[in-house]
Every structure is written in C-alpha cells, then in structure tokens.
Point group: C2
C-alpha cells in the first residue's frame, strides 16, 4: 500500500473497524513490541502530550496515528496511572474534529485548573491548496475523560511562519504563560516563543525566549520548562542545529539548558548553561516534563525520531514512549533516574557475578551492574551463542568511556547517523549501570542517572544470551520485569 | 439507534474505525468498568473460550461483539497470562471470515497439541432465509497468535436440531473426544453430545452423555468436563430446566454434577451426583474449566446472562469475565477458590475491627472478614451515608444463612428474577468471607470457596461507605486492588 497524502489524511470514519482490529492485534502480537512501556495500540505514536497530574492521578497522552507506521492524521490517546509505571489505557481523547485541527490534533500540554484538566495544543489545519495554518487550541477534560469546549486561543502572528506549535501551559504567581516552538518569518530560525494570559482566553505574545547567544537552527520543537531543585530547566528539540553549537549524532537532537530561573515578562532565562544532549543514545525526542504537585520533576520521551523508518513499519506500527524518569540537579548536573515504582515490576531476583550472566534472559528484564574501576571489556546483551551478534556495551573504567553499539544487534535503524554512541566517564572509577530491556527497547542508566542512553534494537528474539566477553570484576542483579500492557 | 438484524450482522469492514475508537474510549472511561477483571475493549462480551495452557502461558479468549451492547456478529478476542491474574490483551484472534462461521465465530475450547494451540469452536452460519446451520470447526493458532487452517470437522447430525454448539476438546489415553451442547430433533430436549476422533479430522458421534435421569430442559449450553481431585466434574448450562429438578433463580442456571469418572465409549458419567448451582449469586453463566499441565483445575465464567439487559448497555458495552478460580473437591463438595496470584493485586493492607469499616473505600478492593458464630447483622457495601442505599450482605451465623441483596444498590438488573440470593451455612459457626469489589462487580467467596456469590451492581460510584449496621464480633482486613487493564 502506498501512503499517499489522501490516504494519510483520510478521516477516521473512512477507515474500517476491521482494519483497525487487525492492526491492534498485529501490534499486540509483534515480537518486537514493548510490554512495560507505553506503546501504540495500533499504528504510529510520537510525542508524549499533556503529561500532568489531575484528579489524584498522573496522566499522559501520546500523538497517535492509528492506521499505519506513518505520520498521518494525528489524535491524542490517553493513559492514567497512580505510580507512573502502571498505566491504564483510556483510549482516544482528543481527535481532529474541528476546522482548526482538521489535519491533526498536534502536540501540547495539560494542567489541572479548577477541577478540570486544561489541554493546550496545536491544531494543524491545511486549506485546499495544502497551505498550513497552525492554531493554538484550548480544551477541557473532565474527570470522566470527556474533552469539550475546544477554543482557538491564538494563531501564528505575522512574524512567525507556519512552523509554530507544541505549547506548554505554565502557571506562575496566578498568571498563565505558554511557551511554543516557532520559526521566525524573517530569518527562518528556530525559537521558543513566550505568551501570557490572565484568563486562558486573551493571550499576548511576550517575545522569543533568550537562553543562548547561538543560532538554534531552523526550528525548535517541543519546548518544556520544568523546575528542578530550584533551577529552571528548558528541554527542547532544535532542528538544523549546527554541530559547532552542540555536538549530537541523531537526525535531530533533544537538548536542554539549565538556568537559575525564567523571567517571563522579559522572556529570558537567567544565567543559562550551554546546550546538553538530554539522552546520549539513539532514539529520544520530544521529551515532555512537568512538576507534580509535590514539586518533583518528571519527564517522559518519545522513543523514535522524525523522518526515520523502523523495522516494525512493515508490521503497521512504530515507536513507543520511554519510561518516566525523575529529574534532579546535583552538583550542577542534571540527573535522570528511574522512578521508584519501576522496582514494583521486578521479580525473580538473581544475584550475578560470573562472566556468563544469563544463557536465556527472556526479552524483558532489568540488569543492575556495578563494575569495578580499571576494567576494560564488553557486555553483550541479546546475544547469540558465540556473541558475534549482540547489543554491545563496551566499557573502560580505567580511561572512562562507555559505548553503546547496535551495529550487530539485528535489523538496522538510521545507520546514516551512526551505530555507536559514546559517553565519557570519570577515569579509574567504578561504573554503575541499570539496564532496562523491553523486547526492542534498551534504556541504560549510567551512574544513577548521570547519563542515559536509550535506543531501539531489533535482534532475533531468540538471541537471549547476556555475557561479558571476558572475566570482569563486578557484581550485579538480574530481574525479570512484569508486563503492564 | 435500532439494532436491526442487518446492523447486528454487518461485517466488521463496514463499521468505521472512528466508531470503534469511540466505543473503546467509552468502555475504558465508564464509571462502571471493571479494572482487575477481563472486560470488553468495546461492545459486548460473553462466553470465555479456549481457556488453556499453551507455550508456557495461560490463554483465554472471549466472545466479542465490538460494536455495541447486543449479541451481534461474534469473534474471539485473545488474552494471555503468566499467573491467571495479569492478562495481556492480544486482540482479535478468531473472526467470522469463512462461510462456516459467516454469522459468528461462536464458543469453543482450545488445547495445546504438537506445539500449536488447537481451537475447536462452533461456526454459526445462516442462509439467505436465515436458516441456521452450526458447523464444528477446527483451527490452529501458532506461538505468534496467528490463527489458520480452519476446517469444518462436522455439522449437526440429522437427529440434532440447529442447536448444536460449544465443543470442548478433550484428550484421554491418546484419543480425542469432544462434548457439545445439543438439542435432539425428536423431543427438543437438551443434551450433552459426545464425539470421538483419533486424528482430529475424522469424527464419529458416540451419543448423548448419560449423567442424570432427569429432563435437562430444551437445551444445554457450554458443557465442560474437568478433573478435580480424581473426580469428573461436568459444568453446563441447562436452558428451560424445570425447577423441580434443581432450584435456581437466574433466567438460566450454570450447574454442575460430580461423578467418579466419564466412560467416553459408553458416553456415561459413573456415579453422578445431583445437579448443583455453580454460583449462588446473580450473573454467572457459560463457565469454562480446564486442567493445567500440573493437573490443577481452573475455571472462568462469563459474568452476564443471555436475554438480559444491563445498565451499561446505554454506554455501548456490557459484561465481563469472572476472576479465575481454582477448583477443589473436599469432603465430596466442590470448592471454588481465588487463585493464589490474586493476592499480588493487594496493596495498602488495613486491619479492621470496628462497625464502620471504611468511610471512603474506593471502588476496587478486597475485604476479608471472619465473623464470629452467633452474630446476626448486615454488612453494607457501596453504601451511602445513612446506609439506606447499599449492596447488602445479611448474615446470621446463629441459624446459618447469608443473603446478598442488590435491591437498593443502584440501577436495577433482571428484577423479574429476584434481587436477593440466599445460601445456607452451618449453624452456630463462624463465617469467613472474601469479598472482591471491582466497580460494578462483586464476587463473594464464603468459607474458603464453599459458596461463591457473583453479581453485578450499579451503585452511584460516590457511595463508598462500608459498614455493619451494628456492632459485630469480627475481625478482618481490607486491601485496595491494583488495576490490570
């Protein structure tokens, strides 16, 4: 089947229920499907949306195109959780059903306001000549999950192109602000645009956020502001960023800066850091973060990249979300840690100490390792018998490096952007790893969240050996992980 | 919308995906929806099918009509589990896609044979004059959940009417047998028909199973044979059973007899007991049981009744499955117990001793009570503040009775068949109760499975008080229960 524009934007009512049921079964039965991460019920998912706390529970939505592994007509699918680990699927929530979002209910955010969940997102509209107008839309979700009262809040001002999207709704001292990704009309550069409202109805533009002297490329997507231990962290996705500004490997990076605080009225970040890669693996994008009522900062990411194909495209589904991570700043560094409740998925704990860790690991586990200083070797995951095929982690705790290598881990992904990712570590120091494997997803936490390397890999599911390539001074634990969906 | 015959049998391809997505979201968001029981993803579910152990996991399917709360064109939806409590939804598995099951892939069973799961079920076919022919179909499911090789095994012989369905596949000493519900042509009475095959291809009828001298009414549905502690238990649903044979309250009962064993060649149960009600509550039907490889006997039931409407019909969905129960025979009595793993859903344990148990229980919990002998009182669940509205359990541990009363528990169900169910207990004896509440479902285990009373109730979800009506000598525990779906 060819994914023509007509097909991708066919209204949901013109697809058959039989097709959808088959796509749902196909996604559920895939050998590569994730089972303790949020994943597509069918079709393609991308950005997390509306990550929030409402009515005593955590909520998250994702961008969904239910009919195939392409970016077609998007809607929001809703999940809620008591612990940020076990999620309940509440199904289609925001659909492209008005003129302003006729070509997609695109990304946005959510915030509990007066007993309802306020949703702020970008409606994608195309006219008969396929000219795009983005509308920033407000809507309200009640406690029964019903979304109503969609209203256009504003559309792109003249000095911003059609690339204007992904509003994050923020409240500070009783005033509402929104930050959006934007491209200026004059220079076609990427910015974060700041807006203000006192009543969520009348909005005024404050201007582009000042957080760097550098050029951010041609567009910024998915800007997010979150407070972490008294600092303001801005997470965002610059597109077309020059690698001299900040080095990265993926087609588009997901970056952050840390500032002291944000001065909204003057639309500037006070004392911003340089840019850093949020994830140092392969496939993280469109991360969304928010502060829970207790002040804790949580993030969740799309594991998938724009303009990238994946091996499950042939099975009619693609991508997943990351596990939720808690953010902390320690000694000026941003740490990303698994939430405490992820431990509730662990079962059948085993202590491990030998070179061969598991002959048959299964495809759904957590591995916790503490490797001594001055060890050099390779850890093979999802390996075949002679370790010639594997997802490989090369470590050198003498000189301080760790490399994730997916070049021999099965079906190929985005090889133009490299098959290895390397991070620098302290020299002559022990190395702590928490490795989460969920079928075709690996999330590797280094030294309690100092680095995270996330990546998809598509190994033969029967490749279940975990082993070092030689004797290594380490100790560790292995757990099977429960299924949540 | 009127549910015409045309509408109910409209092919799935002629329904829109948008309609299905809305029905799925509506079912997921309903206040009455169950969250630790198998429930419809959308529409109506009925009989459990194919309850089995395959490829190292438990499997169950259910009859599904995805497009509303009516008995329309049926398919099988697939779930699997490692522990009989946490289920993974694998979606549509057997669909009405050949002439023999053109009007529904009706109920049946499953058994692992040579590394695949053999499915045996009834295909419902109607001709242009709406004359029904039931076909008994075999099919094979592989480890990836793919169903293929549908074959008609046999259709109804001349002496059986169109009412011929629900085959259970059984293997004994290398020979395959099937038992089916059947109505004889001559007298239009209900029977269990026994068939035999050596290769699953050629089948011969052995005859009606002799297990009672009584007339079983006009039809028997869903016969199941299971071995329990060395006895043969036949579970079945007689329709039109005279109440002089065995008393019951529901529109159709789900009954069982216990025999020493089944002599297949002579199609008779050796030393059968009289008929007993399997569940003494309101809504249990079409129970399916099987023996796991370790010999344990498990059952799962449809919680819902034929020819009965429920309050959620207005929300486009209906019914659920029971929790899985383990069967035991002790002192000649059949016991039905929760499986051990149900305890893994418990959290936030509280010891309880006072008259008021909980002011705000939530809608998803287990309550374990041991009430002393010679106590007379009422336990109110899902109650409003003054206890005038509640799901009431009246107990008298002096004279030995327990009554479940849903007459004041909210929206009404099947009131023509009574709003109370009463069981007799030993006199002057303590009473042990395990009460599982899952929103609109109550499962009450009495004295470690000597009696089970299951029922749907549709209380205002804000009615969350649990209280005795007076001071009672008891002790107990309360747990919130995790969500599994």
């Amino acid at each position: 089947m060819e994914w023509t524009r007509e097909k991708r934007y066919l209204p949901y009512k013109d697809w058959s229920a039989e097709t959808l049921l088959h796509l749902q079964a196909q996604a559920a039965n895939s050998k590569y499907q994730m089972h303790y991460h949020l994943r597509p019920i069918s079709g393609l998912i991308n950005d997390p949306n509306g990550f929030s706390y409402f009515n005593g529970e955590y909520h998250v939505f994702y961008q969904s195109y239910p009919f195939g592994a392409v970016h077609g007509l998007k809607s929001w699918v809703h999940f809620k959780s008591k612990d940020l680990v076990h999620w309940q699927n509440l199904g289609l929530a925001v659909q492209p059903d008005c003129k302003a979002d006729s070509h997609g209910a695109y990304s946005g955010s959510a915030k509990e306001i007066n007993g309802k969940l306020f949703l702020m997102y970008t409606g994608n509209h195309r006219d008969e000549n396929w000219v795009r107008t983005p509308y920033q839309i407000g809507a309200w979700m009640d406690k029964d999950g019903k979304v109503s009262d969609k209203t256009i809040l504003f559309k792109n001002p003249d000095h911003i192109t059609e690339h204007f999207r992904d509003p994050q709704i923020i409240e500070k001292d009783g005033i509402y602000y929104a930050i959006l990704g934007a491209q200026d009309e004059e220079n076609k550069h990427g910015h974060i645009d700041v807006w203000k409202s006192e009543d969520l109805k009348d909005w005024q533009e404050l201007g582009f956020l000042k957080f760097s002297d550098q050029d951010m490329g041609y567009m910024i997507e998915c800007p997010n502001l979150v407070n972490v231990n008294g600092h303001s962290v801005i997470i965002f996705c610059p597109q077309g960023l020059d690698k001299s500004v900040a080095d990265y490997d993926d087609i588009y990076p997901n970056m952050y800066v840390i500032g002291d605080e944000v001065d909204f009225e003057n639309h500037k970040v006070i004392n911003p850091s340089t840019l850093h890669n949020l994830d140092e693996g392969f496939d993280v994008y469109a991360t969304q973060a928010f502060n829970a009522p207790d002040g804790k900062a949580y993030e969740i990411s799309w594991v998938g990249l724009p303009d990238t194909t994946y091996p499950t495209d042939d099975e009619g589904w693609a991508n997943c979300l990351s596990q939720v991570k808690e953010l902390e700043i320690k000694d000026g560094k941003l740490l990303q840690k698994p939430v405490e409740a992820i431990k509730s998925l662990r079962h059948d704990e085993e202590k491990i100490t030998s070179q061969l860790i598991k002959e048959n690991s299964g495809n759904q586990y957590e591995l916790e390792l503490e490797i001594a200083a001055d060890q050099i070797g390779n850890l093979h995951l999802a390996a075949n018998d002679d370790l010639s095929q594997s997802l490989r982690i090369a470590f050198d705790t003498q000189n301080g490096t760790l490399t994730l290598d997916r070049s021999k881990s099965g079906k190929k992904v985005a090889i133009d952007h490299g098959e290895q990712r390397t991070v620098s570590l302290a020299k002559n120091s022990k190395l702590r790893l928490n490795i989460f494997i969920d079928h075709s997803l690996a999330e590797i936490f280094v030294n309690d969240g100092e680095h995270v390397l996330t990546g998809r890999f598509f190994a033969d599911p029967s490749h279940q050996k975990i082993s070092f390539d030689k004797d290594i001074d380490y100790n560790g634990k292995f757990w099977k992980m429960d299924t949540i969906l």
